[in-house]
Amino acid sequence: MGDIMKLLWKALPTLVRSIFYQANWNIENMQGTGFSWLLKDLSKRFNIGVGDIKGNERADYFNTNPYFVTFMLGMFLKEAESGKAVDQYKSTYASVFGALGDTFFWHSLRPLTFFLSLFIALYEPMFAMFFYLIFFNIFNIGFKFLGFYLGYNYGTNVIELFRTVSFANWSNVADIASIFFMGGTLAITIKYISNSEAINSISIFKTAIFFIAGFATSKYVSAPFTLIIGVMIVTVVMLLQNI
């Protein structure tokens, strides 16, 4: 435990910097500038010659999921210390972490956090935002800090760890959980509105119709236009109710 803390403490400034490394994101070298900036900073803190870390050229194309960048930093540090060439794994791991991270963080964790916080919002709206930030950032900070240690510990074999915990399946589990909470949120919302005298009640039938309409339109049009079409359907419903 002491070793982990020592390592993380030493790398702390670089890890903090890593939250800004995407600032120069562009379609020329993607996150290349930021990654080279982080590597240079890391080599300074661990007294390694910048030249010893290969593949840290700013012009190099680099793009991965931002929550996984510290895994790469740890891996580069480990390999630079042991004198092995790691740069041949740079593009492979960048792509692979991009794939794993995009699927888990962007595709699955956002909806799960959203529905969990909506669930909480139904009881106490004030807590929803705090829950969203805390829940998501447990993963964010966990991956950033633990990722650096694991990357350093496992080196280029870090993928075995992901295989052991079946990380590729986490996304499926999170998606199923999101759907469960989606059902729950819908039920509580409708029940709450139906019980409230001030608002027109929404029947189960109407819920089903709107749900199916959303399911159908999303196949053909993008989300913003689905929303606009939705608004139009709502106005028609309003009109029918007033006739």
């Binding site: 794939a99 595709h107 993928i159």
Partner: protein
Amino acid sequence: MERIIFRVDDRFIHGQVIEGWINHFSIKNIILVNDCIATDLNKAFIYKSTMPRNAKLEVISVDSFLQLDILNEYKKGYLLIIVGSIHDLKLISSNIPKENSYINIGCLATGTRDISVTDNCFINKDELDCLINISEKNSKNIYAHKLPWEKPINLKDIHDTQIKTIKMKG
């Protein structure tokens, strides 16, 4: 979308491939054709670890792919075949089925390439000619787009524009 998708992508498997293609079409069979990765077990293992549940990735060499009878071995469902360069696509072009197949160009980094097709797809004159050659030989269009729902760019149009520009300069 046709059942058998060929994709040229120098990053092989990354977010766009998993999110955009494999998850979008629920593709169960993926073949990565590359001589280097086929012999490097470590790298092949890394790529295989990214596969979602129910999706199976095979990493094979160009020669092994040429001996593969795609239509008979993969009779049902989608099949995604990923190659790393246009050169590799040319090598396997004799095994591209005439029917039910779609050729897509994904990410190709700039390097020495000077023709920009999309914001992350660059090719040079020789590669463009090679693609047109493959396109004519297989009598099917080749499209460049990152994700299936994006507007595809026909490489033939790029070729025509190139010829027009050269003529105008001449």
